[in-house]
């Protein structure tokens, strides 16, 4: 199974360590936990996959910090990137 890294327990996204195809099961691992997520889209190496649902307007959390906000409702397993995330710095 392809892998993804969860950096902090509070994160709602995980960074994939391989190119992921839609429909693949991804093992997302943090220190004390693992979540198996079904990828809903193709996700390139180094990009993020949602490991929880992120409702519109809510923060995208990575490294335990807010790194952006969801511009639309994001479902678990979706690609999380510039198409559905806004910058708190420039738009928030």
């Amino acid at each position: 199974m392809k892998k993804a890294v969860i950096i902090n327990q509070a994160d709602n996204v995980s960074t994939v360590l391989d190119n992921v195809d839609a429909g693949e099961k991804i093992s997302c691992k943090g220190l004390a936990h693992e979540i198996i997520v079904d990828s809903r889209q193709n996700i390139p190496l180094g990009h993020k996959i949602a490991i929880k649902d992120i409702p519109k307007g809510r923060p995208v959390v990575k490294y335990g910090f807010d790194v952006g906000f969801a511009k639309y409702d994001i479902k678990q397993g979706e690609h999380v990137h510039v198409h559905n995330v806004g910058s708190l710095q420039t738009e928030g």
């Binding site: 892998k3 890294v5 950096i7 902090n8 960074t15 360590l17 691992k29 943090g30 220190l31 390139p44 190496l45 180094g46 990009h47 993020k48 995208v60 990575k62 490294y63 335990g64 910090f65 807010d66 790194v67 952006g68 999380v80 990137h81 510039v82 995330v85 806004g86 910058s87 708190l88 710095q89 420039t90």
Partner: protein, 392 residues
């Protein structure tokens, strides 16, 4: 782990006991280097300042030279002057002596040019190195340590492994009572909202914003978007986006994660400004340019540097040992002579980040106690001094 270091008069601790050959001006760099390279226990600080400078730029350069000489890793100083430069080498030596650091001074124009200066300088430096070799380490604690954190040659592994792992080690250093300095203002842009929550006071948070805004304004002054293709403040490049970075906050937070998660931000200081005694994290204003940011932190008091790299950079510092950490397995293998710690296990073998952080902390303690780093044994003496004014 027990810590053994050189106890200095002012209460600070040195993890090395070096003789520093300090040129007062760039014109005598070669003399300084010829002295330093030929004697064990001696290092040189080759730089490009000391003359043809004005105002705050001159004062900042002088502060950096002075701070470098006072670094706790320096047991003795030999100031080399030319004789006609802006910096007064004798005055500099006098001020170093006032801090109870053994110091001598010599001017190349007085002693008879290069060859005489090298001969005389080697004699003085060798005597100093001999004397310092008698000094013993004493038992002390991490409460007095100052650690710098740096990143260079970053790639996607940096934010996934090496930087967050260093962050865990940094929190451990703080919990042990130590201080940490982070710099590279360029890489704090976008991280302010998160960092300000850890700032000790609103004034400290305000200083942080001031420094990042200043860097943005300064960059805007020199770039044209249509030519340089750089858009500030949202300086995410197409390469960053392709690599998976979505927002400027994510990019900077990926870098700033090396500054820890819990440790409070005590102050934001100017380049090469000494930090205070309170335990915690200090942010130093500096460029992202590695030689300058490291030199600034060392002048501010840091005696060892945790340096993450993805693509592999061999840089070192003459005064503070630099510990290279990479999460890129290929680089850890191919550039093994330049890498001290390999945390690629976080990405490749599911090693938990906190475990990698503990591994880094353990290696750090060994290096504090005397183990050499790769860039240290290879004698990388990289120096840069941030300029903020014109050259006359």
């Amino acid at each position: 782990m027990e810590i053994y270091a050189y106890l200095r008069e002012n209460g600070s601790i040195g993890i090395r006991n070096r003789v520093l050959v300090l040129p007062a001006v760039a014109c005598v760099n070669h003399v300084a280097e010829m002295i330093a390279r030929n004697i064990e226990g001696v290092v040189g600080l080759r730089h490009e300042v000391g003359c043809a400078q004005l105002g705050d730029d001159y004062r900042q350069s002088l502060r950096t030279l002075f701070g470098s000489a006072l670094n706790p890793n320096v047991g003795a100083v030999l100031v080399i002057g030319l004789g006609c430069e802006r910096v007064d080498p004798e005055q500099l030596a006098h001020e170093i002596a006032q801090q109870k650091v053994p110091v001598e001074c010599m001017k190349v124009q007085d002693v008879g040019g290069t060859t005489q200066a090298i001969a005389k300088g080697m004699s003085i430096a060798a005597e100093m190195a001999n004397t310092l070799s008698l000094q013993k380490r004493e038992k002390t604690s991490l409460e007095r340590i100052v650690v710098g954190v740096e990143c260079g040659g970053s790639d996607f592994t940096s934010s996934l492994s090496s930087n967050p792992a260093v962050g865990y080690a940094v929190d451990q250093i703080w919990k042990s009572g130590g201080r940490i300095i982070i710099s590279e203002t360029t890489e704090l842009i976008g991280a302010e909202k998160v960092l300000e929550q850890r700032c000790k006071t609103p004034e400290v948070a305000e200083k942080l914003w001031q420094k990042t805004r200043q860097m943005i304004e300064h960059s805007k002054h020199y770039t044209r978007d249509d030519i340089d293709g750089v858009s500030v403040p949202n300086n995410i490049s197409p390469g960053n986006v392709k690599g998976g970075l979505t927002t400027i906050e994510e990019k900077s937070l990926g870098a700033v994660s090396k500054g820890g998660y819990l440790c409070p931000i005590i102050d934001v200081v100017d380049y090469a400004q000494p930090i205070s005694a309170e335990s915690g994290l200090y942010i130093m204003d500096s460029p992202g340019y590695d030689p300058e940011s490291m030199t600034g932190m060392v002048a501010g008091g840091c005696t060892v540097v945790l340096f993450t790299t993805g693509l592999g950079t061999p840089l070192g510092n003459p005064i503070a040992p630099v510990i290279k950490i990479t999460g890129n397995r290929r680089v850890a293998t191919v550039m093994k002579d330049d890498i001290d710690i390999d945390v690629s296990g976080v990405i490749e073998d599911e090693v938990p980040l906190e475990q990698a952080g503990t591994d880094i902390f353990d290696v750090l303690c060994h290096i504090i106690n005397g183990k050499r780093t790769r860039s240290e044994v290879l004698r990388y003496w990289d120096v840069g001094i941030m300029r903020i004014g014109p050259r006359l």
